[in-house]
């Protein structure tokens, strides 16, 4: 090995050729590279980035990385045999460059599958879209799914095994593992511990089960920092066993949510968003109602969609639940003392619940006390929700005891009961509560293996690190939140010298099997002879039909619950939340997600300490003031950020930042909220204090002004007016009907079909950002980083504006996605001196990049400021993998040109070409823009506005339809449908 490292590749090749003379040919570099010396050289030298990526300057790193990619063909993924690999000597018949191929697959979040269709160009995945056939999501996606593409191509991913932090070879790792595992085998697994994240993969469960059977003394622990433990405890209390709750939002005409962000980010967002939007749309068409009552301490997406939002501190949620239960006649509930305002809200909510038996749903945040949640389940029984709007299945994700078991592991380690620790895909060195010293406990374990996507905090504390393959480059399976199994198939051969998840398990058990073999073994056991047919069918569909977890009808075993009377603590209450874009920190190195503005603050690249406007006023805090937050004797510092609508004495934090070792993207961002999290109270801390340090921190927000200031950017209509308008009554201005167009200097054009337009239903938009990230992925939108976002130079073609209306202490919040309006009277086109901004025959406002000289007049004249300028060369020095990720159908823009939303003109062209070849017009719905495809609530409609039968025309015919900034007289093609508001006085038992 030492010899090999010293010799240069040329010498090895020469050595390989030595002794051969005359007509003795070597056929390929591969054959030469087959010599052990050469392979050892490559393994030792290239994939590893000695002395570690964190010490190398960026350009040098990129060069090395490019080299490692170039050599990836030679290393051949370090001897991992590929089952179906064929040399790409002659192009296979069905692979046509320029014509994408689609594969159904999935990525996971917190163990749950997010089903996807992956678009690949000549073997490179370039875009993930929702799988419309999937029974749970039905094509809905979220920002995490959309952004996992850049996770695949992330150049900071771990690219080689390491031993004690130094690059090692796979053979060395395997040797160390086999000797260690022989020892474990001998001791029947005693002292062996496996730590994973939440697991839904049947194959992984099978592998772990097999392992535990073989080694009865071994233990499996799991760490999922954001989990449903407490909800499971609640079902345990009420039904006698842990169950998964499934909210049937499509059937719930009334939802009363106590601090439960059901529409918020997380693995269930796509499913919940789709279900809720179906209910909402039915309501828009006059079928039933869609009402939402929310009480919460800190604003959430669900709260901003609520018709009746009430601000309640975390500690009052239990009392509110008691009050609802008591009012509905739950015997065990006592009547708590309520304040006047609380009584009003409870009165309205209870009256509404009472009036809709079997059609209402009462939910409690899964981070609340299990007793309180249990009370919520009993209320649901009372209102007839069980089996109707609230259903249950056996737990989909395993092990069911979540976060707790990792804490137990820490105790065992500290007690010296662990001798071998294998951590797969979890990051306990970062994501453990502050009062569990996992790091120190870990140090006592004699053999520690880490397998993960990144060389992270945990990896650096382990003896061995085994780089894990990304889900998009390996075989696996996983269940969606409803239990439906998705087969995860690779869209690409591994980019780096990494090992798939199931192979790592094989590595531990000593059974070498490829990931494909492992997954097939699972399904062979289930399907037997039918494997071939059903496997193929499942791969094509992207999921196994009829594999959803069956609903169970649990019987209520115990109605005696006693929600704790949470004491009113002195000082501030801290509530913790997963971060809406980087979750628990696992996406910290995902540049797309970092640059995505948080839905309710529009902050990027940071987590902030959210304070209420009242508290900020009282303490004299402004956005960006550094504050030190002390809770439970621990202190963190970060920038304060004023959050309109937050409870006065509540401070909200998000997890996931302050990563110490994650990659270059995550480096130095935010504060670490895990540093004050407690094992017994992971979501709430009482008795906190904040103090301004006097420093000012830069926070990159994409929207610093969120007050609507009396403008009508987001219009709302009253539900009763809307009804009247639908019946044909003359719509008033407040119903959002467009005012007549003003005269214009330039003559209007005549438009032939198809002529494109878009309608965005603000009544459905939940501001989740799926569209934003989808647009970034589809259109090769560059990431610019924190400082440029702070300078107002973000590149997003589609942004979601957030507006607050009314009193900052208790505002109404609205989301408004803003793509290019494709104005028929576009000021940008008039302003451009070089004809770079022009109108197409089919009604698009186009930007011709190679004609643009960068005067920026178009942007100055744009009333909507949707244009984005390449102030620098943002793409020229992209690392090789990022280039490989680019959508080949979309130009990568150079420095000095303007760009903007094109209505995904490449998709329009594709459809037009297909239609032309087939000799037919483009069908309605054939062109789906990236944002439209991604939207979980189907808020965006796109199509031909000349055809009055098209879906978009029908939407635009709604009395709710209006143009943004009509007074600018630009005649936008993108129009909005006003939000429908139900006046509070309409509520039964309305009080205020």
């Amino acid at each position: 090995m030492a010899n090999a490292r010293q010799s240069r590749p040329a010498e090895i090749i020469r050595a390989g050729l030595k002794g051969k003379s005359g007509r003795s040919f070597w056929r390929s570099l591969d054959e030469l590279a087959g010599t052990p010396a050469f392979r050892a050289y490559l393994e030792a030298e290239f994939p590893a980035l000695a002395p570690g990526p964190f010490d190398v300057d960026r350009r040098a790193l990129l060069k090395v990385m490019a080299a490692s990619l170039a050599l990836a063909g030679l290393t051949g993924c370090s001897g991992e045999a590929d089952e179906a690999a064929l040399p790409y000597v002659e192009a296979p018949e069905h692979v046509v460059p320029g014509r994408p191929k689609w594969y159904a697959t999935a990525v996971t979040l917190a163990g749950f599958a997010l089903p996807a269709l992956g678009k690949t160009h000549v073997g490179r995945p370039v875009k993930l879209e929702g799988n419309p056939a999937h029974p749970a999501t039905r094509g809905a996606t979220d920002a995490f799914l959309q952004a996992s593409l850049i996770g695949l191509y992330d150049p900071d991913r771990s690219q080689s095994p390491r031993h004690l932090g130094r690059p090692a070879t796979w053979s060395a790792l395997d040797a160390a593992m086999s000797s260690r595992m022989a020892e474990v085998e001998r001791r029947r697994g005693e002292g062996f511990r496996l730590l994973t994240g939440a697991v839904t993969s049947p194959t992984l469960v099978r592998q772990i089960d097999a392992l535990l059977q073989r080694w009865p003394e071994a233990r499996w622990h799991a760490l999922e920092p954001v989990n449903d433990d407490l909800a499971a405890n609640a079902t345990q209390r009420v039904f006698g066993r842990p169950l998964d709750r499934h909210l049937m939002l499509d059937q719930a005409e009334l939802i009363v949510s106590l601090d439960d962000d059901i529409l918020g980010p997380g693995p269930r967002q796509a499913v919940h968003g789709r279900r809720w939007s179906e209910r909402r749309r039915a309501f828009q068409q006059g079928e039933g109602e869609c009402r939402l009552f929310v009480a919460e301490p800190t604003p959430s997406i669900t709260g901003s969609m609520a018709g009746d939002r009430f601000i309640a501190s975390h500690s009052r949620i239990a009392a509110l639940a008691q009050a609802v239960a008591h009012a509905l006649g739950v015997e065990t509930a006592s009547a708590p003392e309520l304040a006047e305002r609380e009584r009003g809200w409870i009165g309205r909510a209870v009256a509404a619940l009472r009036a809709r038996p079997g059609r209402a749903l009462f939910t409690l945040g899964t981070h609340h006390d299990p007793e309180t949640q249990a009370l919520g389940l009993i209320v649901n029984e009372r209102i007839g929700a069980l089996g109707a709007t609230l259903r249950f299945t056996e737990p989909v994700s395993l092990p069911a005891d979540g976060l707790r078991s990792a804490e137990a592991l820490a105790g065992d380690m500290a007690a010296g009961r662990v001798t071998t620790l294998a951590i797969i895909g979890a990051n306990p060195a970062y994501a453990m509560p502050a009062d569990v010293d996992f790091r120190a406990a870990m140090e006592t374990v004699p053999f520690r293996l880490h397998a993960g996507l990144y060389y992270d905090e945990t990896a650096s504390l382990c003896h061995w690190h085994s780089p894990l393959a990304h889900e998009l480059e390996s075989w696996s399976d996983a269940r969606a939140v409803d239990g439906t199994v998705s087969l995860i198939q690779p869209l690409i051969r591994p980019l780096y010298a990494v090992r798939p998840l199931h192979a790592v398990l094989g590595n531990i058990s000593g059974k070498t099997a490829s990931d494909l073999e492992s997954v097939q073994a699972t399904w062979r056991a289930l399907w037997g002879d039918q494997l071939e047919v059903r496997w193929r069918d499942a791969l094509v569909r992207g999921f196994v039909p009829e594999s959803a977890a069956p609903f169970v009808t649990p019987t209520v075993a115990g109605r005696t619950v006693s929600p704790p009377d949470e004491p009113r603590t002195e000082g501030l209450t801290v509530v913790l939340r997963p971060d809406p874009t980087i979750w628990d920190g696992r996406f910290a190195n995902n540049a797309w997600l970092q640059e995505t503005p948080k839905p309710l603050t529009k902050v990027t690249w940071d987590n902030v300490i959210l304070v209420s406007p009242q508290l900020a006023k009282h303490r004299g805090l402004a956005n960006g003031d550094e504050v030190a937050l002390t809770a439970g004797g621990r202190t963190i510092t970060g920038p304060a950020w004023i959050h309109p609508g937050q409870e006065t004495d509540t401070v909200a934090l998000t997890l996931g930042y302050g990563r110490r070792r994650a990659g270059r993207v995550a480096e130095g961002l935010g504060y670490d909220a895990f540093a004050i999290r407690l094992r017994d109270s992971p979501w709430r801390l009482g008795g906190a204090a904040i103090r301004a340090t006097g420093a000012k921190l830069e926070v990159a927000s994409t929207q610093r002004h969120q007050a609507m200031d009396g403008f009508d950017f987001v219009r709302t209509v009253d539900a009763s007016d809307f009804e009247a308008a639908k019946r044909g009554a003359t719509p008033g201005q407040e119903t959002g009907q467009p005012r007549p167009r003003q005269p214009t200097f330039y003559p209007p054009r005549q438009w032939d079909s198809p002529s494109w337009g878009m309608a965005i239903d603000l009544d459905l938009c939940i501001g989740c950002n799926a569209c934003v990230v989808a647009c970034v992925a589809e259109n090769n939108v560059p990431v610019v980083g924190k400082s440029l976002v702070a300078q107002g130079r973000e590149m997003h073609w589609l942004r979601v504006d957030l507006y607050h209306e009314g009193d900052p202490a208790d505002p109404k919040s609205h989301f408004q996605p803003v793509p290019c309006m494709h104005c028929e009277q576009a000021p940008c086109e008039m302003g451009c001196p070089v004809n770079a901004a022009v109108h197409s025959f089919d009604g698009l406002n186009l930007q011709v990049y190679n004609r643009c000289v960068g005067t920026r007049t178009c942007s100055s004249y744009c009333p909507y400021k949707v244009r984005r300028f390449n102030w620098y060369d943002y793409t020229g020095d992209d690392p090789e993998p990022i280039r490989a990720m680019r959508n080949p159908d979309v130009t990568v823009r150079s420095r000095g040109v303007m760009e903007k939303c094109t209505y995904c003109v490449q998709r329009i062209s594709e459809a037009r070409i297909a239609a032309k070849i087939a000799g037919r017009p483009i069908r309605d719905g054939e062109v789906r823009t990236a944002c439209q495809q991604a939207c979980p609530t189907r808020a965006i409609t796109f199509g031909d506005i000349i055809d009055d039968q098209s879906e978009v025309s029908r939407r635009k015919a709604s009395p709710r339809n209006y143009s943004l900034l009509e007074e600018a007289n630009t005649w936008p093609r993108t129009t909005y449908l006003a939000r429908i508001e139900t006046a509070r006085s309409d509520e039964e038992g309305g009080m205020e």
């Binding site: 929207q703 130079r793 942004r799 001196p833 004609r851 007049t857 942007s859 100055s860 400021k865 000095g896």
Partner: protein, 446 residues
Amino acid sequence: MTELAATPRDRYAAVGEEIIRIPLNYPNRLAWWICFGFALLLLLMFFISAGVLFWYGVGVWGNNIPVNWGIAISNYIWFLGIGHAGTLISAMFLLLHAHWRNSLNRFAEAMTLFAVVCAGLYPILHLGRPWFFYWIAPYPNTMTIWPQFKSPLTWDFFAVLTYLTVSLLFWYIGIVPDLAAVRDRARKRRQQVFYGIAALGWRGSAWHWARWRQSYRLTAAIAVPLVVSVHSEVSLLFAAGPIPGWASTVFPPYFVLGAAFSGFAVVSMIAILLRHALGLGDIVRERHLDLLGIFLLATGLMTAYGYWAEVFDALYSGGKQEIGTLLDRLTGIYAWSYWGAVVGNFLPLQLLWFRQVRTNPFLLFLIALSVTIGMWFERYMLLVTSLYRDWLVSSWGEYHASFWELSLFAGMLGVFLVPFLLFVRFLPVISSFEVKETLFEEERDA
């Protein structure tokens, strides 16, 4: 100072001597070198700043979305505006037979020329891809594509190019007889060759004078409408955009008057400096300062009317957005630029009602300097306060000029000063033959 001789002939000779001696035997060389050295440093800064700009891209400036334009465009308007007084003095007053302009026109024209050069550079520098700036020009090309004639920028290009060409021609035609005079007095071979070539073989024959007068007055006739049209056109860069605070019909006259105002201010400053530095008190007399002061006051008051009209416009429109922009100007974070403009432009100006102030070179200089700075504030204010808070509250953002923007501004002063100092050093700064003409006419009238 040369005492004016008794006979008219001697007086003509004295005027000629006083002006023509300067290029041949420059007085006060040390001061010139100090100024020139400073100007060269500024020019170096220009090249460095432009180099950085071209290498990295416009991102080195503080611009962003929504404030796409910054100092570059406001300076473009400012520099171009300064140029206007030169043309106004030389061409319009020539045609109006206001002979007092003969003591001022030469250096005012030179100022115009170099200011237009500075102005013309800015739009090119501010481009995202400056190497394609010529795409704005209508030229036969393989792409078979014309500029977009609806765009104010296309017309900016024509305006600046036309203005540059006409200013250069007018200035050069005007200087030819004086160059011949310098040639005739030159003793050194180098000077003889340089001025000889530059004088284009001028012999002062009656034919020459007749042709010269034709072409000079013709060029003047072309130049005069440009004073109005060029800055009207430039104002459309703002006025044509549907941005609150921009889309206003008052802009063209407002810009033209502001341009003349700032131009007269700079002409006054240059006149006072040259008069002092080169001892030209006999030629640029108190009467000239008085007249400059009167024009400064007059154009200043007209500009003030523009301010008022703008406020009225916003209030009369009743538009929430327009009134919002007005309030942003008066009270927003860029209020300093609005009040800076109001104070700089109009407060010290009121002193010019008094003749004693107008004829006091020191006071007039300070007032003119205040106006020059005030007008810079005005251009900046008009641009930034409209863009930083336009239609949608969500896209509001602030703009702060970066170091490289400010250094380019300083460098651009070098681009102005270096050729101007060379002009002062090597060319007749005042039209000697036209001053003689004035003398003749004065005596004839007497």
